[in-house]
Symmetry: C2
Subunit: 323 residues, 2 copies
C-alpha cells in the first residue's frame, strides 16, 4: 500500500499518474483540510473536491479545479444580496457541498462523507481527510491583519506578503481514522508536489503525523513543487521565502529534511542536486512537470521506485510496455 | 396599517392585489414558518420565499412558487449521492437559501434576514416571519407515522389521510419582533385564503397571537380558501374533514369563528352565507378566485372595505379609476 500526502491540483495530477501504474485500491490519499471553509452555511473542502473531480475525470481542465462545463446561476443570484461571491461555487459543484453539509449536520464525520462521495464517483483511490476535526490555516499578513486561507488564496489572489502561518485547531485535532495506520504501514509515503507550507504543512501539524513520518523518514519520498526557483502554481515560492527559507529545490529539501528521506527534483534543477544532498536528503532528478497523464505516470514510476523497493502489487506490469 | 396573516401562494396573490389598492408600505405580512425546513444544511422558508418572489414579480407563473426560468443543475448533480431531491431547489433559488443560511449561521435572526432579502428585492410590503424561533408543523398519518410538513406536502403530495396536526416548538416560540404590535395596532387584520389548518394554524399557535386576535375579532376579516366545497390548491379541504370539520365555507367559518369576525366567501357559495352567519361570523359574498392581479385587487378592495372603515392612506385613490 502507498500513502500520499496531498494538497489540491498538483496532488490530484500525481494521483492520476499513480493509479495508472499501480492498483488504485493500493493508494491511500491523505488530504489537507486546512483550506476547508464554511461558505453560506455550506462545508466546502477544496482539496478533497479537486482530487475527487480529477480522479473522476470531470475536473475543469482549464483551472484544474471545479467541474467541467459548470454554470454559475446560484452565484449570480447571490450577488443581489451582497453576499460573498469571490469564492465561486458552481451549480453542479454545489451539490457536493450540499450533500456533505447535510450529512455532517446529521452527525456524519468528514471521513464518512468523503467515503460516500468517493463511492458515488466510483473512485479506486481511497481518500482520507487528514482529520475529522476542524483545522484552519490562517495567515498573518505584512500589515498584521490575519486572514483565513481562502481569503488569502482566492480573494487576495495570494498577492500579499505573509508574515506567519498557523493551523488553528491543529493542536487538538485527531488524525482521521486510518491516517496514522496508513502512514505507518505503507510501503512508501509519497509527498505530492503540493505547497509545502500551506498544503502539506497542515497535515504535518496534526498530532502524531510528524512523528510517524520522522520514524520512517527513509521511505518518505517527496516531489519538489518548486521548479527553477518558481512554483508551477500558487504561492509556494513566495511563502517559502517569506517564512525565512528559499524558493528552490534545495530550499524545499531544507524545509522537509526532518521527515523526508528522498526528494525528486525537476531536471531543470539538475545542477542543484548536490545542494539537496548536502541538506541530508537523497536526490533524484526527473521530469516532474505533469502536463499530461502520461507524464504524471512517468513521474509516478520514478517516485515509486525511489526507495529501491518494488511498490504496489501491480507496479511493474503497467509500467512494462513503456519501459 | 393593515396586517395580513399569510401562508404561501394564495397569500402571495392576495398581497399583490392589496398593494395595488393601498400603499405597500402600509401592509405588514405575518408569514407562516411552520413549513420551514432544513435541507442539505440549508434553511428553507417556503412561504416567505413564495411571497417574496411573487411580490418581486419573479415567481414561476406555472407553479405559483419558485423562480421563473429556473434551472436545476444542483438538484440533478445531487442525485448522484442519493440525497433528497424530491424537494426541488432551483439553482437561482438556492442563492436565497444560501444567503439566509449563511446569515443565520452567523447569528442573524430569521426576521433580520427576511428584512434584508425584502430590501434586496425592493419589496414595499413589510414581511415578518411569525416567529424567529423554530416551529415545525408535523402531521400524524393514518398509519400512525408522524411526518414533517414538507414530507407530507411535497414528497407524499398530501395524498395521505391525516389523523392529527401539531406545531412542534410552538409552545415556547416567541412572536417575531413587530408581530404582536402589528396585530394589535392594525386598522384591520386580514386572513389570506391560505390553508386554515397548516398555514394559518401555526401562526395562531404562536403564544400571544390568538389572544390579540380574539380581542379585536370584529376587525379580523378572513377570505375562505374553500370554494364550492374544494380547496383551490392543496389539501385544505381534506384536512378540514380529517380533523373533524367540514370542507365548505361554513366549515371554515366554524373553524375560525373564535377570532375572525367576518368571512368573505366566494359567489359560488352564495347560498351558504346563512350558514356562515349562523356560526356567528359576518359573511360577505364576492368573487374570491384570483386568476389575475386585477381580480386580486378587486378582492382586496372588498376585504379592506369589509369592516366599513376607510383603510389605508391611499385606499380609495387607485381604486377610483375602476370604480
Amino acid at each position: 500500500m502507498i500513502a500520499v500526502l496531498c494538497g489540491g491540483v498538483g496532488a490530484a495530477r500525481m494521483l492520476v499518474g499513480m493509479q495508472a501504474v499501480v492498483d488504485p485500491g493500493d493508494i491511500v490519499a491523505i488530504v489537507n483540510t486546512g483550506d476547508d471553509t464554511e461558505l453560506h452555511g455550506l462545508y466546502v473542502s477544496p482539496d478533497l473536491d479537486t482530487i475527487t473531480y480529477t480522479l473522476a475525470g470531470v475536473v475543469n481542465p482549464q483551472t484544474g479545479w471545479g467541474l467541467r462545463g459548470e454554470t454559475f446561476r446560484a452565484m449570480q443570484a447571490l450577488e443581489r444580496f451582497g453576499a460573498i461571491t469571490w469564492f465561486r461555487l458552481g451549480d453542479a459543484d454545489l451539490a457536493t457541498h450540499l450533500y456533505r453539509t447535510g450529512r455532517m449536520r446529521g452527525g456524519a464525520t468528514l471521513s464518512e462523507v468523503t467515503a460516500a462521495i468517493s463511492r458515488a464517483w466510483g473512485l479506486g483511490v481511497r481518500l482520507l481527510p487528514m482529520s475529522d476535526d476542524p483545522v484552519r490555516t490562517r495567515l498573518r499578513l505584512e500589515n498584521t491583519q490575519e486572514v483565513a486561507f481562502q481569503e488569502y488564496f482566492v480573494k487576495l489572489r495570494h498577492s500579499v506578503v505573509v508574515d506567519s502561518v498557523r493551523f488553528e485547531g491543529a493542536e487538538t485535532a485527531r488524525p482521521a481514522p486510518g491516517v496514522l495506520d496508513s502512514l505507518g504501514s505503507a510501503e512508501i509515503v509519497v509527498v505530492a508536489p503540493s505547497n509545502p507550507v500551506v498544503s502539506i504543512g497542515p497535515i504535518l501539524a496534526v498530532p502524531g503525523v510528524a512523528s510517524v513520518l520522522r520514524a520512517r523518514r527513509d521511505s518518505v519520498v517527496a516531489v519538489s513543487p518548486i521548479v527553477a526557483g518558481a512554483a508551477l502554481k500558487g504561492p509556494a515560492d513566495r511563502l517559502l521565502v517569506e517564512l525565512g527559507g528559499q524558493a528552490s529545490s534545495p530550499g524545499v529539501a531544507r524545509f522537509v529534511k526532518d521527515w523526508v528521506g528522498t526528494l525528486v527534483i525537476d531536471q531543470a534543477d539538475a545542477d542543484r542536486a548536490g545542494e539537496v544532498e548536502a541538506a541530508g536528503v537523497n536526490c533524484i532528478v526527473a521530469p516532474t512537470v505533469m502536463r499530461t497523464p502520461e507524464m504524471a505516470a512517468g513521474l509516478a514510476r520514478i517516485v515509486l521506485g525511489a526507495t529501491g523497493k518494488v511498490v504496489g502489487r501491480s507496479a511493474s506490469a503497467p509500467a512494462a510496455p513503456g519501459a
